[in-house]
Amino acid sequence: MAGKLKSTTILDGQFEVIGLVPGPVLCALGKVDLAKITVSQARDLLAINFPYLREVVKKPTRRKGKGNHS
């Protein structure tokens, strides 16, 4: 890759479209519109190693005032 690819979040921030404006892509599942897919379709795309999508892994948030207690 030439550099860091710009990504765009879709589906309420659950997935990121990488390096493209979300829109139609041709793939094994046919012509898929990344601007209109469902969560289920997004998971189907990830299952075929679709290179223009990734799932956003949300870091667990720490609760304030609840550190480690021994």
């Binding site: 890759m1 030439a2 690819l5 710009k6 765009t8 990488i18 390096g19 493209l20 404006v21 979300p22 829109g23 139609p24 892509v25 041709l26 793939c27 094994a28 012509k31 990344l34 075929i48 190693n49 679709f50 290179p51 223009y52």
Partner: protein
Amino acid sequence: MQIRDFQNQRNLEESAGLGMTVVIADYYDILSFPTLPNLETGETNAAYVMATGAFEMKPGKQFHVFHSSLEQNSFNSKLVGSPGAMTHENVLTIRRNSASPELIGYVRSMKNRELVVGFKPLGESTYTIIGWEDLWAMVTEGEIDIPKEVSGEKHTTLMIRSIYLPPIKVLAIPLTPAPID
């Protein structure tokens, strides 16, 4: 790259013919290509032609669609050259049964241009690419033909040729541009 077994692989969806949608990008609109297969580490025959990763387009640039007529597209890949120095020559023929101004203008815009072209053989899940980094494809023949008989085959045809690399397979081809910063 090693010789491997090729054993009977049943494909109930096997078929001749290509899909009617062909996608074409200007070579210079692509910022980077998927990664070509590693011929040392490939563990299957298919791995020798399967690229991984994504096309990275330049901001605002994209692959464009050409819709052919049904059963008019064809593809041929040959080994050419003398034994010991043989390589691949790939020719995609795309045809639309029309000679409209849109098509004539399309032919005009394609000639002498460096191209990267994707298409899908029927019965396959992957897309085939001709034209790659440092090895673009180009139109080598084009024809706009209006026969004299009404039963004749009116058509606009382009033949696009690439060399050296075999038909390279990719999982997906984007039809939208890269985001503009």
